[in-house]
Amino acid sequence: MVEKGSEASWGMAALRERLAKQRGRVFWRSLEELAGDPAFVRFLEGEFPTPAPAEVDRRTFLKLMGASLALAGLSSACTRQPTEQIFPYTRAPEEVVPGRPLFYATAMTFGGFAAGLLVESHMGRPTKIEGNPQHPASLGATDVFAQAAILTLYDPDRSQVVLYRGGIHTWAAFWGALAIERERWQATRGAGMRILTETVTSPTLADQVRQVLTLFPEARWHQYEPVSRDHQKAGARLAFGRFVETHYRLQEARVMLSLEADFLAWGPNHLRQAREFILRRRAETEPTEWNRLYVFESTPSLTGAMADHRFPVRASAIESIARALARRLGLEVPEPDLASLGIDPRLVEALARDLDQHRGESLVLVGETQPPLVHALGHALNQALGNVGRTVIYTEPVEAEPIQHMASLRELAEDMEAGRVDALFIVGANPAYTAPADLDFAERMNRVRLRVHLGQYADETAQLCHWHLPESHFLEAWSDGRAPDGTVTIMQPLIAPLHETRSAHEVLAALLGEAERPGYEIVRAYWQQQFEAGQVGGFSDFQTFWRMALHEGVVSGTSLPPVSVSVQWAAIAAELAKRPARAPEGIEIVFRPDPTVWDGRFANNGWLQELPKPLTKLTWDNAAIIAPTLAERLGVKNGEVVELRRGDRQVLAPVWILPGQAVETVTVHLGYGRWRAGRVGSHLGFNAYRLRTSGAPWFEVGVEIRRTHRRHELVSTQDHHSMEGRHLVRTATLGEYRENPRFAKELGQDPPPDLTLYPEHRYDGYSWGMVIDLNACIGCNACVIACQAENNIPVVGKREVKIGREMHWIRIDRYFEGRDLERPDIYHQPVLCMHCDHAPCEVVCPTGATVHSHEGLNQMTYNRCVGTRYCSNNCPYKVRRFNFRLYADWATETLKMQRNPDVTVRSRGVMEKCTYCVQRINAARIEAKKRDRAIRDGEVVTACQQACPTEAIVFGNLNDLESRVAQLKAHVLNYGILTELNTRPRTTYLARLRNPNPEVAALLEEGTP
């Protein structure tokens, strides 16, 4: 017998394996139930430590049996449908009309901040997440993480049961153990008791933590998140003497300078920022109203790709640029040595002039990756430019306790080292994986007597804890959270917990001695108290307040008013003097959260793993990203594994060459190299945290790159990055556009409408079409995941993506253009089915599985498809996707619950593609008909359109000349791609404009500044 407790690592693994092998209908109420199976118990106790190997043969056999069944399917003419049963309610709930979806407002917290959501629920199953238009941080849009969160809810690898030393246990046992601990803390006033959370904006949670701290005064509250806002906070403290939140009002700005601020894709407010930024950059925007964006950054970001002028510079050089600018804009800063950085001072002067000419309409944005001093300089610059109150405002902090995370974690680590920590409660965080390497956090954790972890996954940290408590998904639990502007959302669950999980509120309540108090009561009681205390109001009674708050998804009147602060220059000056701008040498390592799995928390989300990273188009991996010049110097090619060494720490990482990367830098993305993420996310990529230190979380000079001559297969969905002179993305500067507004049309060769052998079909009534404004598309991928969630698109895995079999119905093509390989222009082009009126795919389908509807849709009838793939071959846009194998998961029960019941789940051997969300069109048509009216403009919103933060995608009825889509189709910038093939696409684009500064452009013409 193996001693219980020592098998912590394989107990869970074995369980996972067993679950993975389950096929068909296997419901179990909890793992306890499963654990009750004597065979399983024996299994756990090690009598049969390896699963029976006969398994594979049997499955192969079954597959071959399946083949013969398929042959028997020849006689499918005579097969009968199996008898199905139908289960009505016993007591029908109010609201639910069987067959109709319901939408509930809630929110998802990410990095602590809430983004408002509307979640679609079919008969009690949440299936799709949309943004809440009423919510200030969403405005109806969502990002990839919110879109993909629905999959995490149904992830079969989610932690489902309490674990004690790796073995299955019960909540009751934990409550019991906790009660004993509480007695001890009451005696010691909680000495040595620590709570580690991530960023907290939840008023209820903060209140609970404070209650714990009141009850046990010696206890401490730590916060740590690997992608925190430390530099922003420290920068504000340096500039203003205290932390205030910075809010940009991008719609007011005419000239923007981003110092590594990826404000379109990073930060709690990025959706709103993207929307505001694009307001002055749409195709319809008057050329005189356009804004201009300069970006200095070390590694290409989505914001950089949108810039009118993008300068790849090493991260450490950005401080010098800030200094030089500050000096030119009248601040007392010593002149930095620009020459040694290879930066032309004239460039900075031109930039300063442009900013200066737009006082009050300009904006300097500083990214979290830059040190606090640059943030402070940014604040000083904005003040100097008169932007405060116009393009930038400040408010009180939204975070409940805005401490410095890295410092907090370091303190915790040191206390653990010193044996000062007796009990550690980790709520949600995964420090064993995400802590910087120099803190030896995992190692030091072992010195803590009692370690408890609450998390959605039994992850790396759970492995090191005595107790692992499964945490509810946000769609399963009551909670609350605040938007960046302070607006509160009360988060309501859409479904009862699928597994034996509890929320953080419920666990903290237990710390307060209220075990098993429901989250609903906790959250409601808090807000009742607030209501009664007059903190929130506007309603006559609490019941109304509560109902409205839940219904709207926001608590009105909770946004924070602006505060006025002023820059305390002396502190900055002192800091400036302390830190002379150094001339860096050697290769710099730059850390970034991964664009799709972030800090690693989404590692087990297949949608996000398979989502191509916006700029590299890599999937299922991270890489050491280097510039072409550096690659040439090192003599490495894509996929070659190099050793990155920083001091005595090193990792092996495959190289990916990315034009636009600053030459002397190598960028690594966090979030990979996990070893206990789950079946999907474990053992992918390399762990960049192993090179990260608490002192330099975002970049540091001095990394060695050594070749190993080994290769790692990196899989990208786009292997060719040039447009080959084909006019796919059509661009012009504003100046060129003013001179020749028809440039986009002239670049193409649209055949005249009568150039056809046959008479045209007329599409009267509705005639659907789409316009995508390439000026507004920031390439954020939200549409891709939204489409995946809406249309039941399967995940195929790295091996299949490698051979080009990804299934996304909408993809974002990314092209590099320009003469300079190191400083290319980057373009995004979402490509989905064009619904061509002369569709080449339709003609060649032998069964008529894809034909045109009388409303102009290129319909794809899966059940008629026999899978010749001819349509895909003949599609010039290559938007058709084929189920080469059985990609849809027909086995995992929880994943079935996510499926949109209005869209067929495709089986193997059939083609699929974008349908313009025909299920939504049909739903709208039926609704309209039932009300005896026509479908209104804007009533049919495709999934991609709905998710898009910048409203780049517009869909509607082309026959309605008042509709937005018809008006955009009439715009001079409207063009279709490959129209010379006479395909007559219904999806068209608005040509991309850029607004370069002529002065800077001239300098660039001269040579690289």
């Binding site: 046959y758 079909h761 339709e842 008529g848 045109h852 509807s853």
Partner: protein
Amino acid sequence: MAERTDIYGLLAEFNAPEKVLAAAQRAYAEGYRRMDAYTPFPVEGLAEALGFHRTRLPILVLLGGLFGGALGYALLYYAEVIDYPLIVGGKPFHSWPAFIPIVFETTIFFAALSAVLGMLALNGLPMPYHPVFNVPRFALASRDRFFLLIEARDPKFDREATRRFLEALGADGVWEVEP
């Protein structure tokens, strides 16, 4: 002119195609009509010598082809224009140019089928049993021997006279054919 019904006819064997041809011509001139010749390969003029002039096969094939073509077109027209018109690639329902290959193929298909089936039917095949097979030497009809058969049903048939006539034609042998 006694009718002897216990035999099917008389079979004369020759060793060269010219001989059987000459014999057939002579027999026809003599007034024999119900006769046939059997050769291991087609001998030019032999069928004509026996009084066979035209076969209706070509007209059958033409009809078969026309039927096939019409059927093909009718099927396509019905399916695409009448029964379930669908917009395919912006082309009209009645996309006749696209119908050509199929109509062509159905034409050929039915024409070829009528050629083969017509040939078999006109020849009365399959006929596994035939009286001539009763003659053991007849096996050589598929090797190197040429046979002339005069049926007993022929009005001019006389067992002895006909035998003599055939022998006079230079036959290597004359055999009675059991019915």
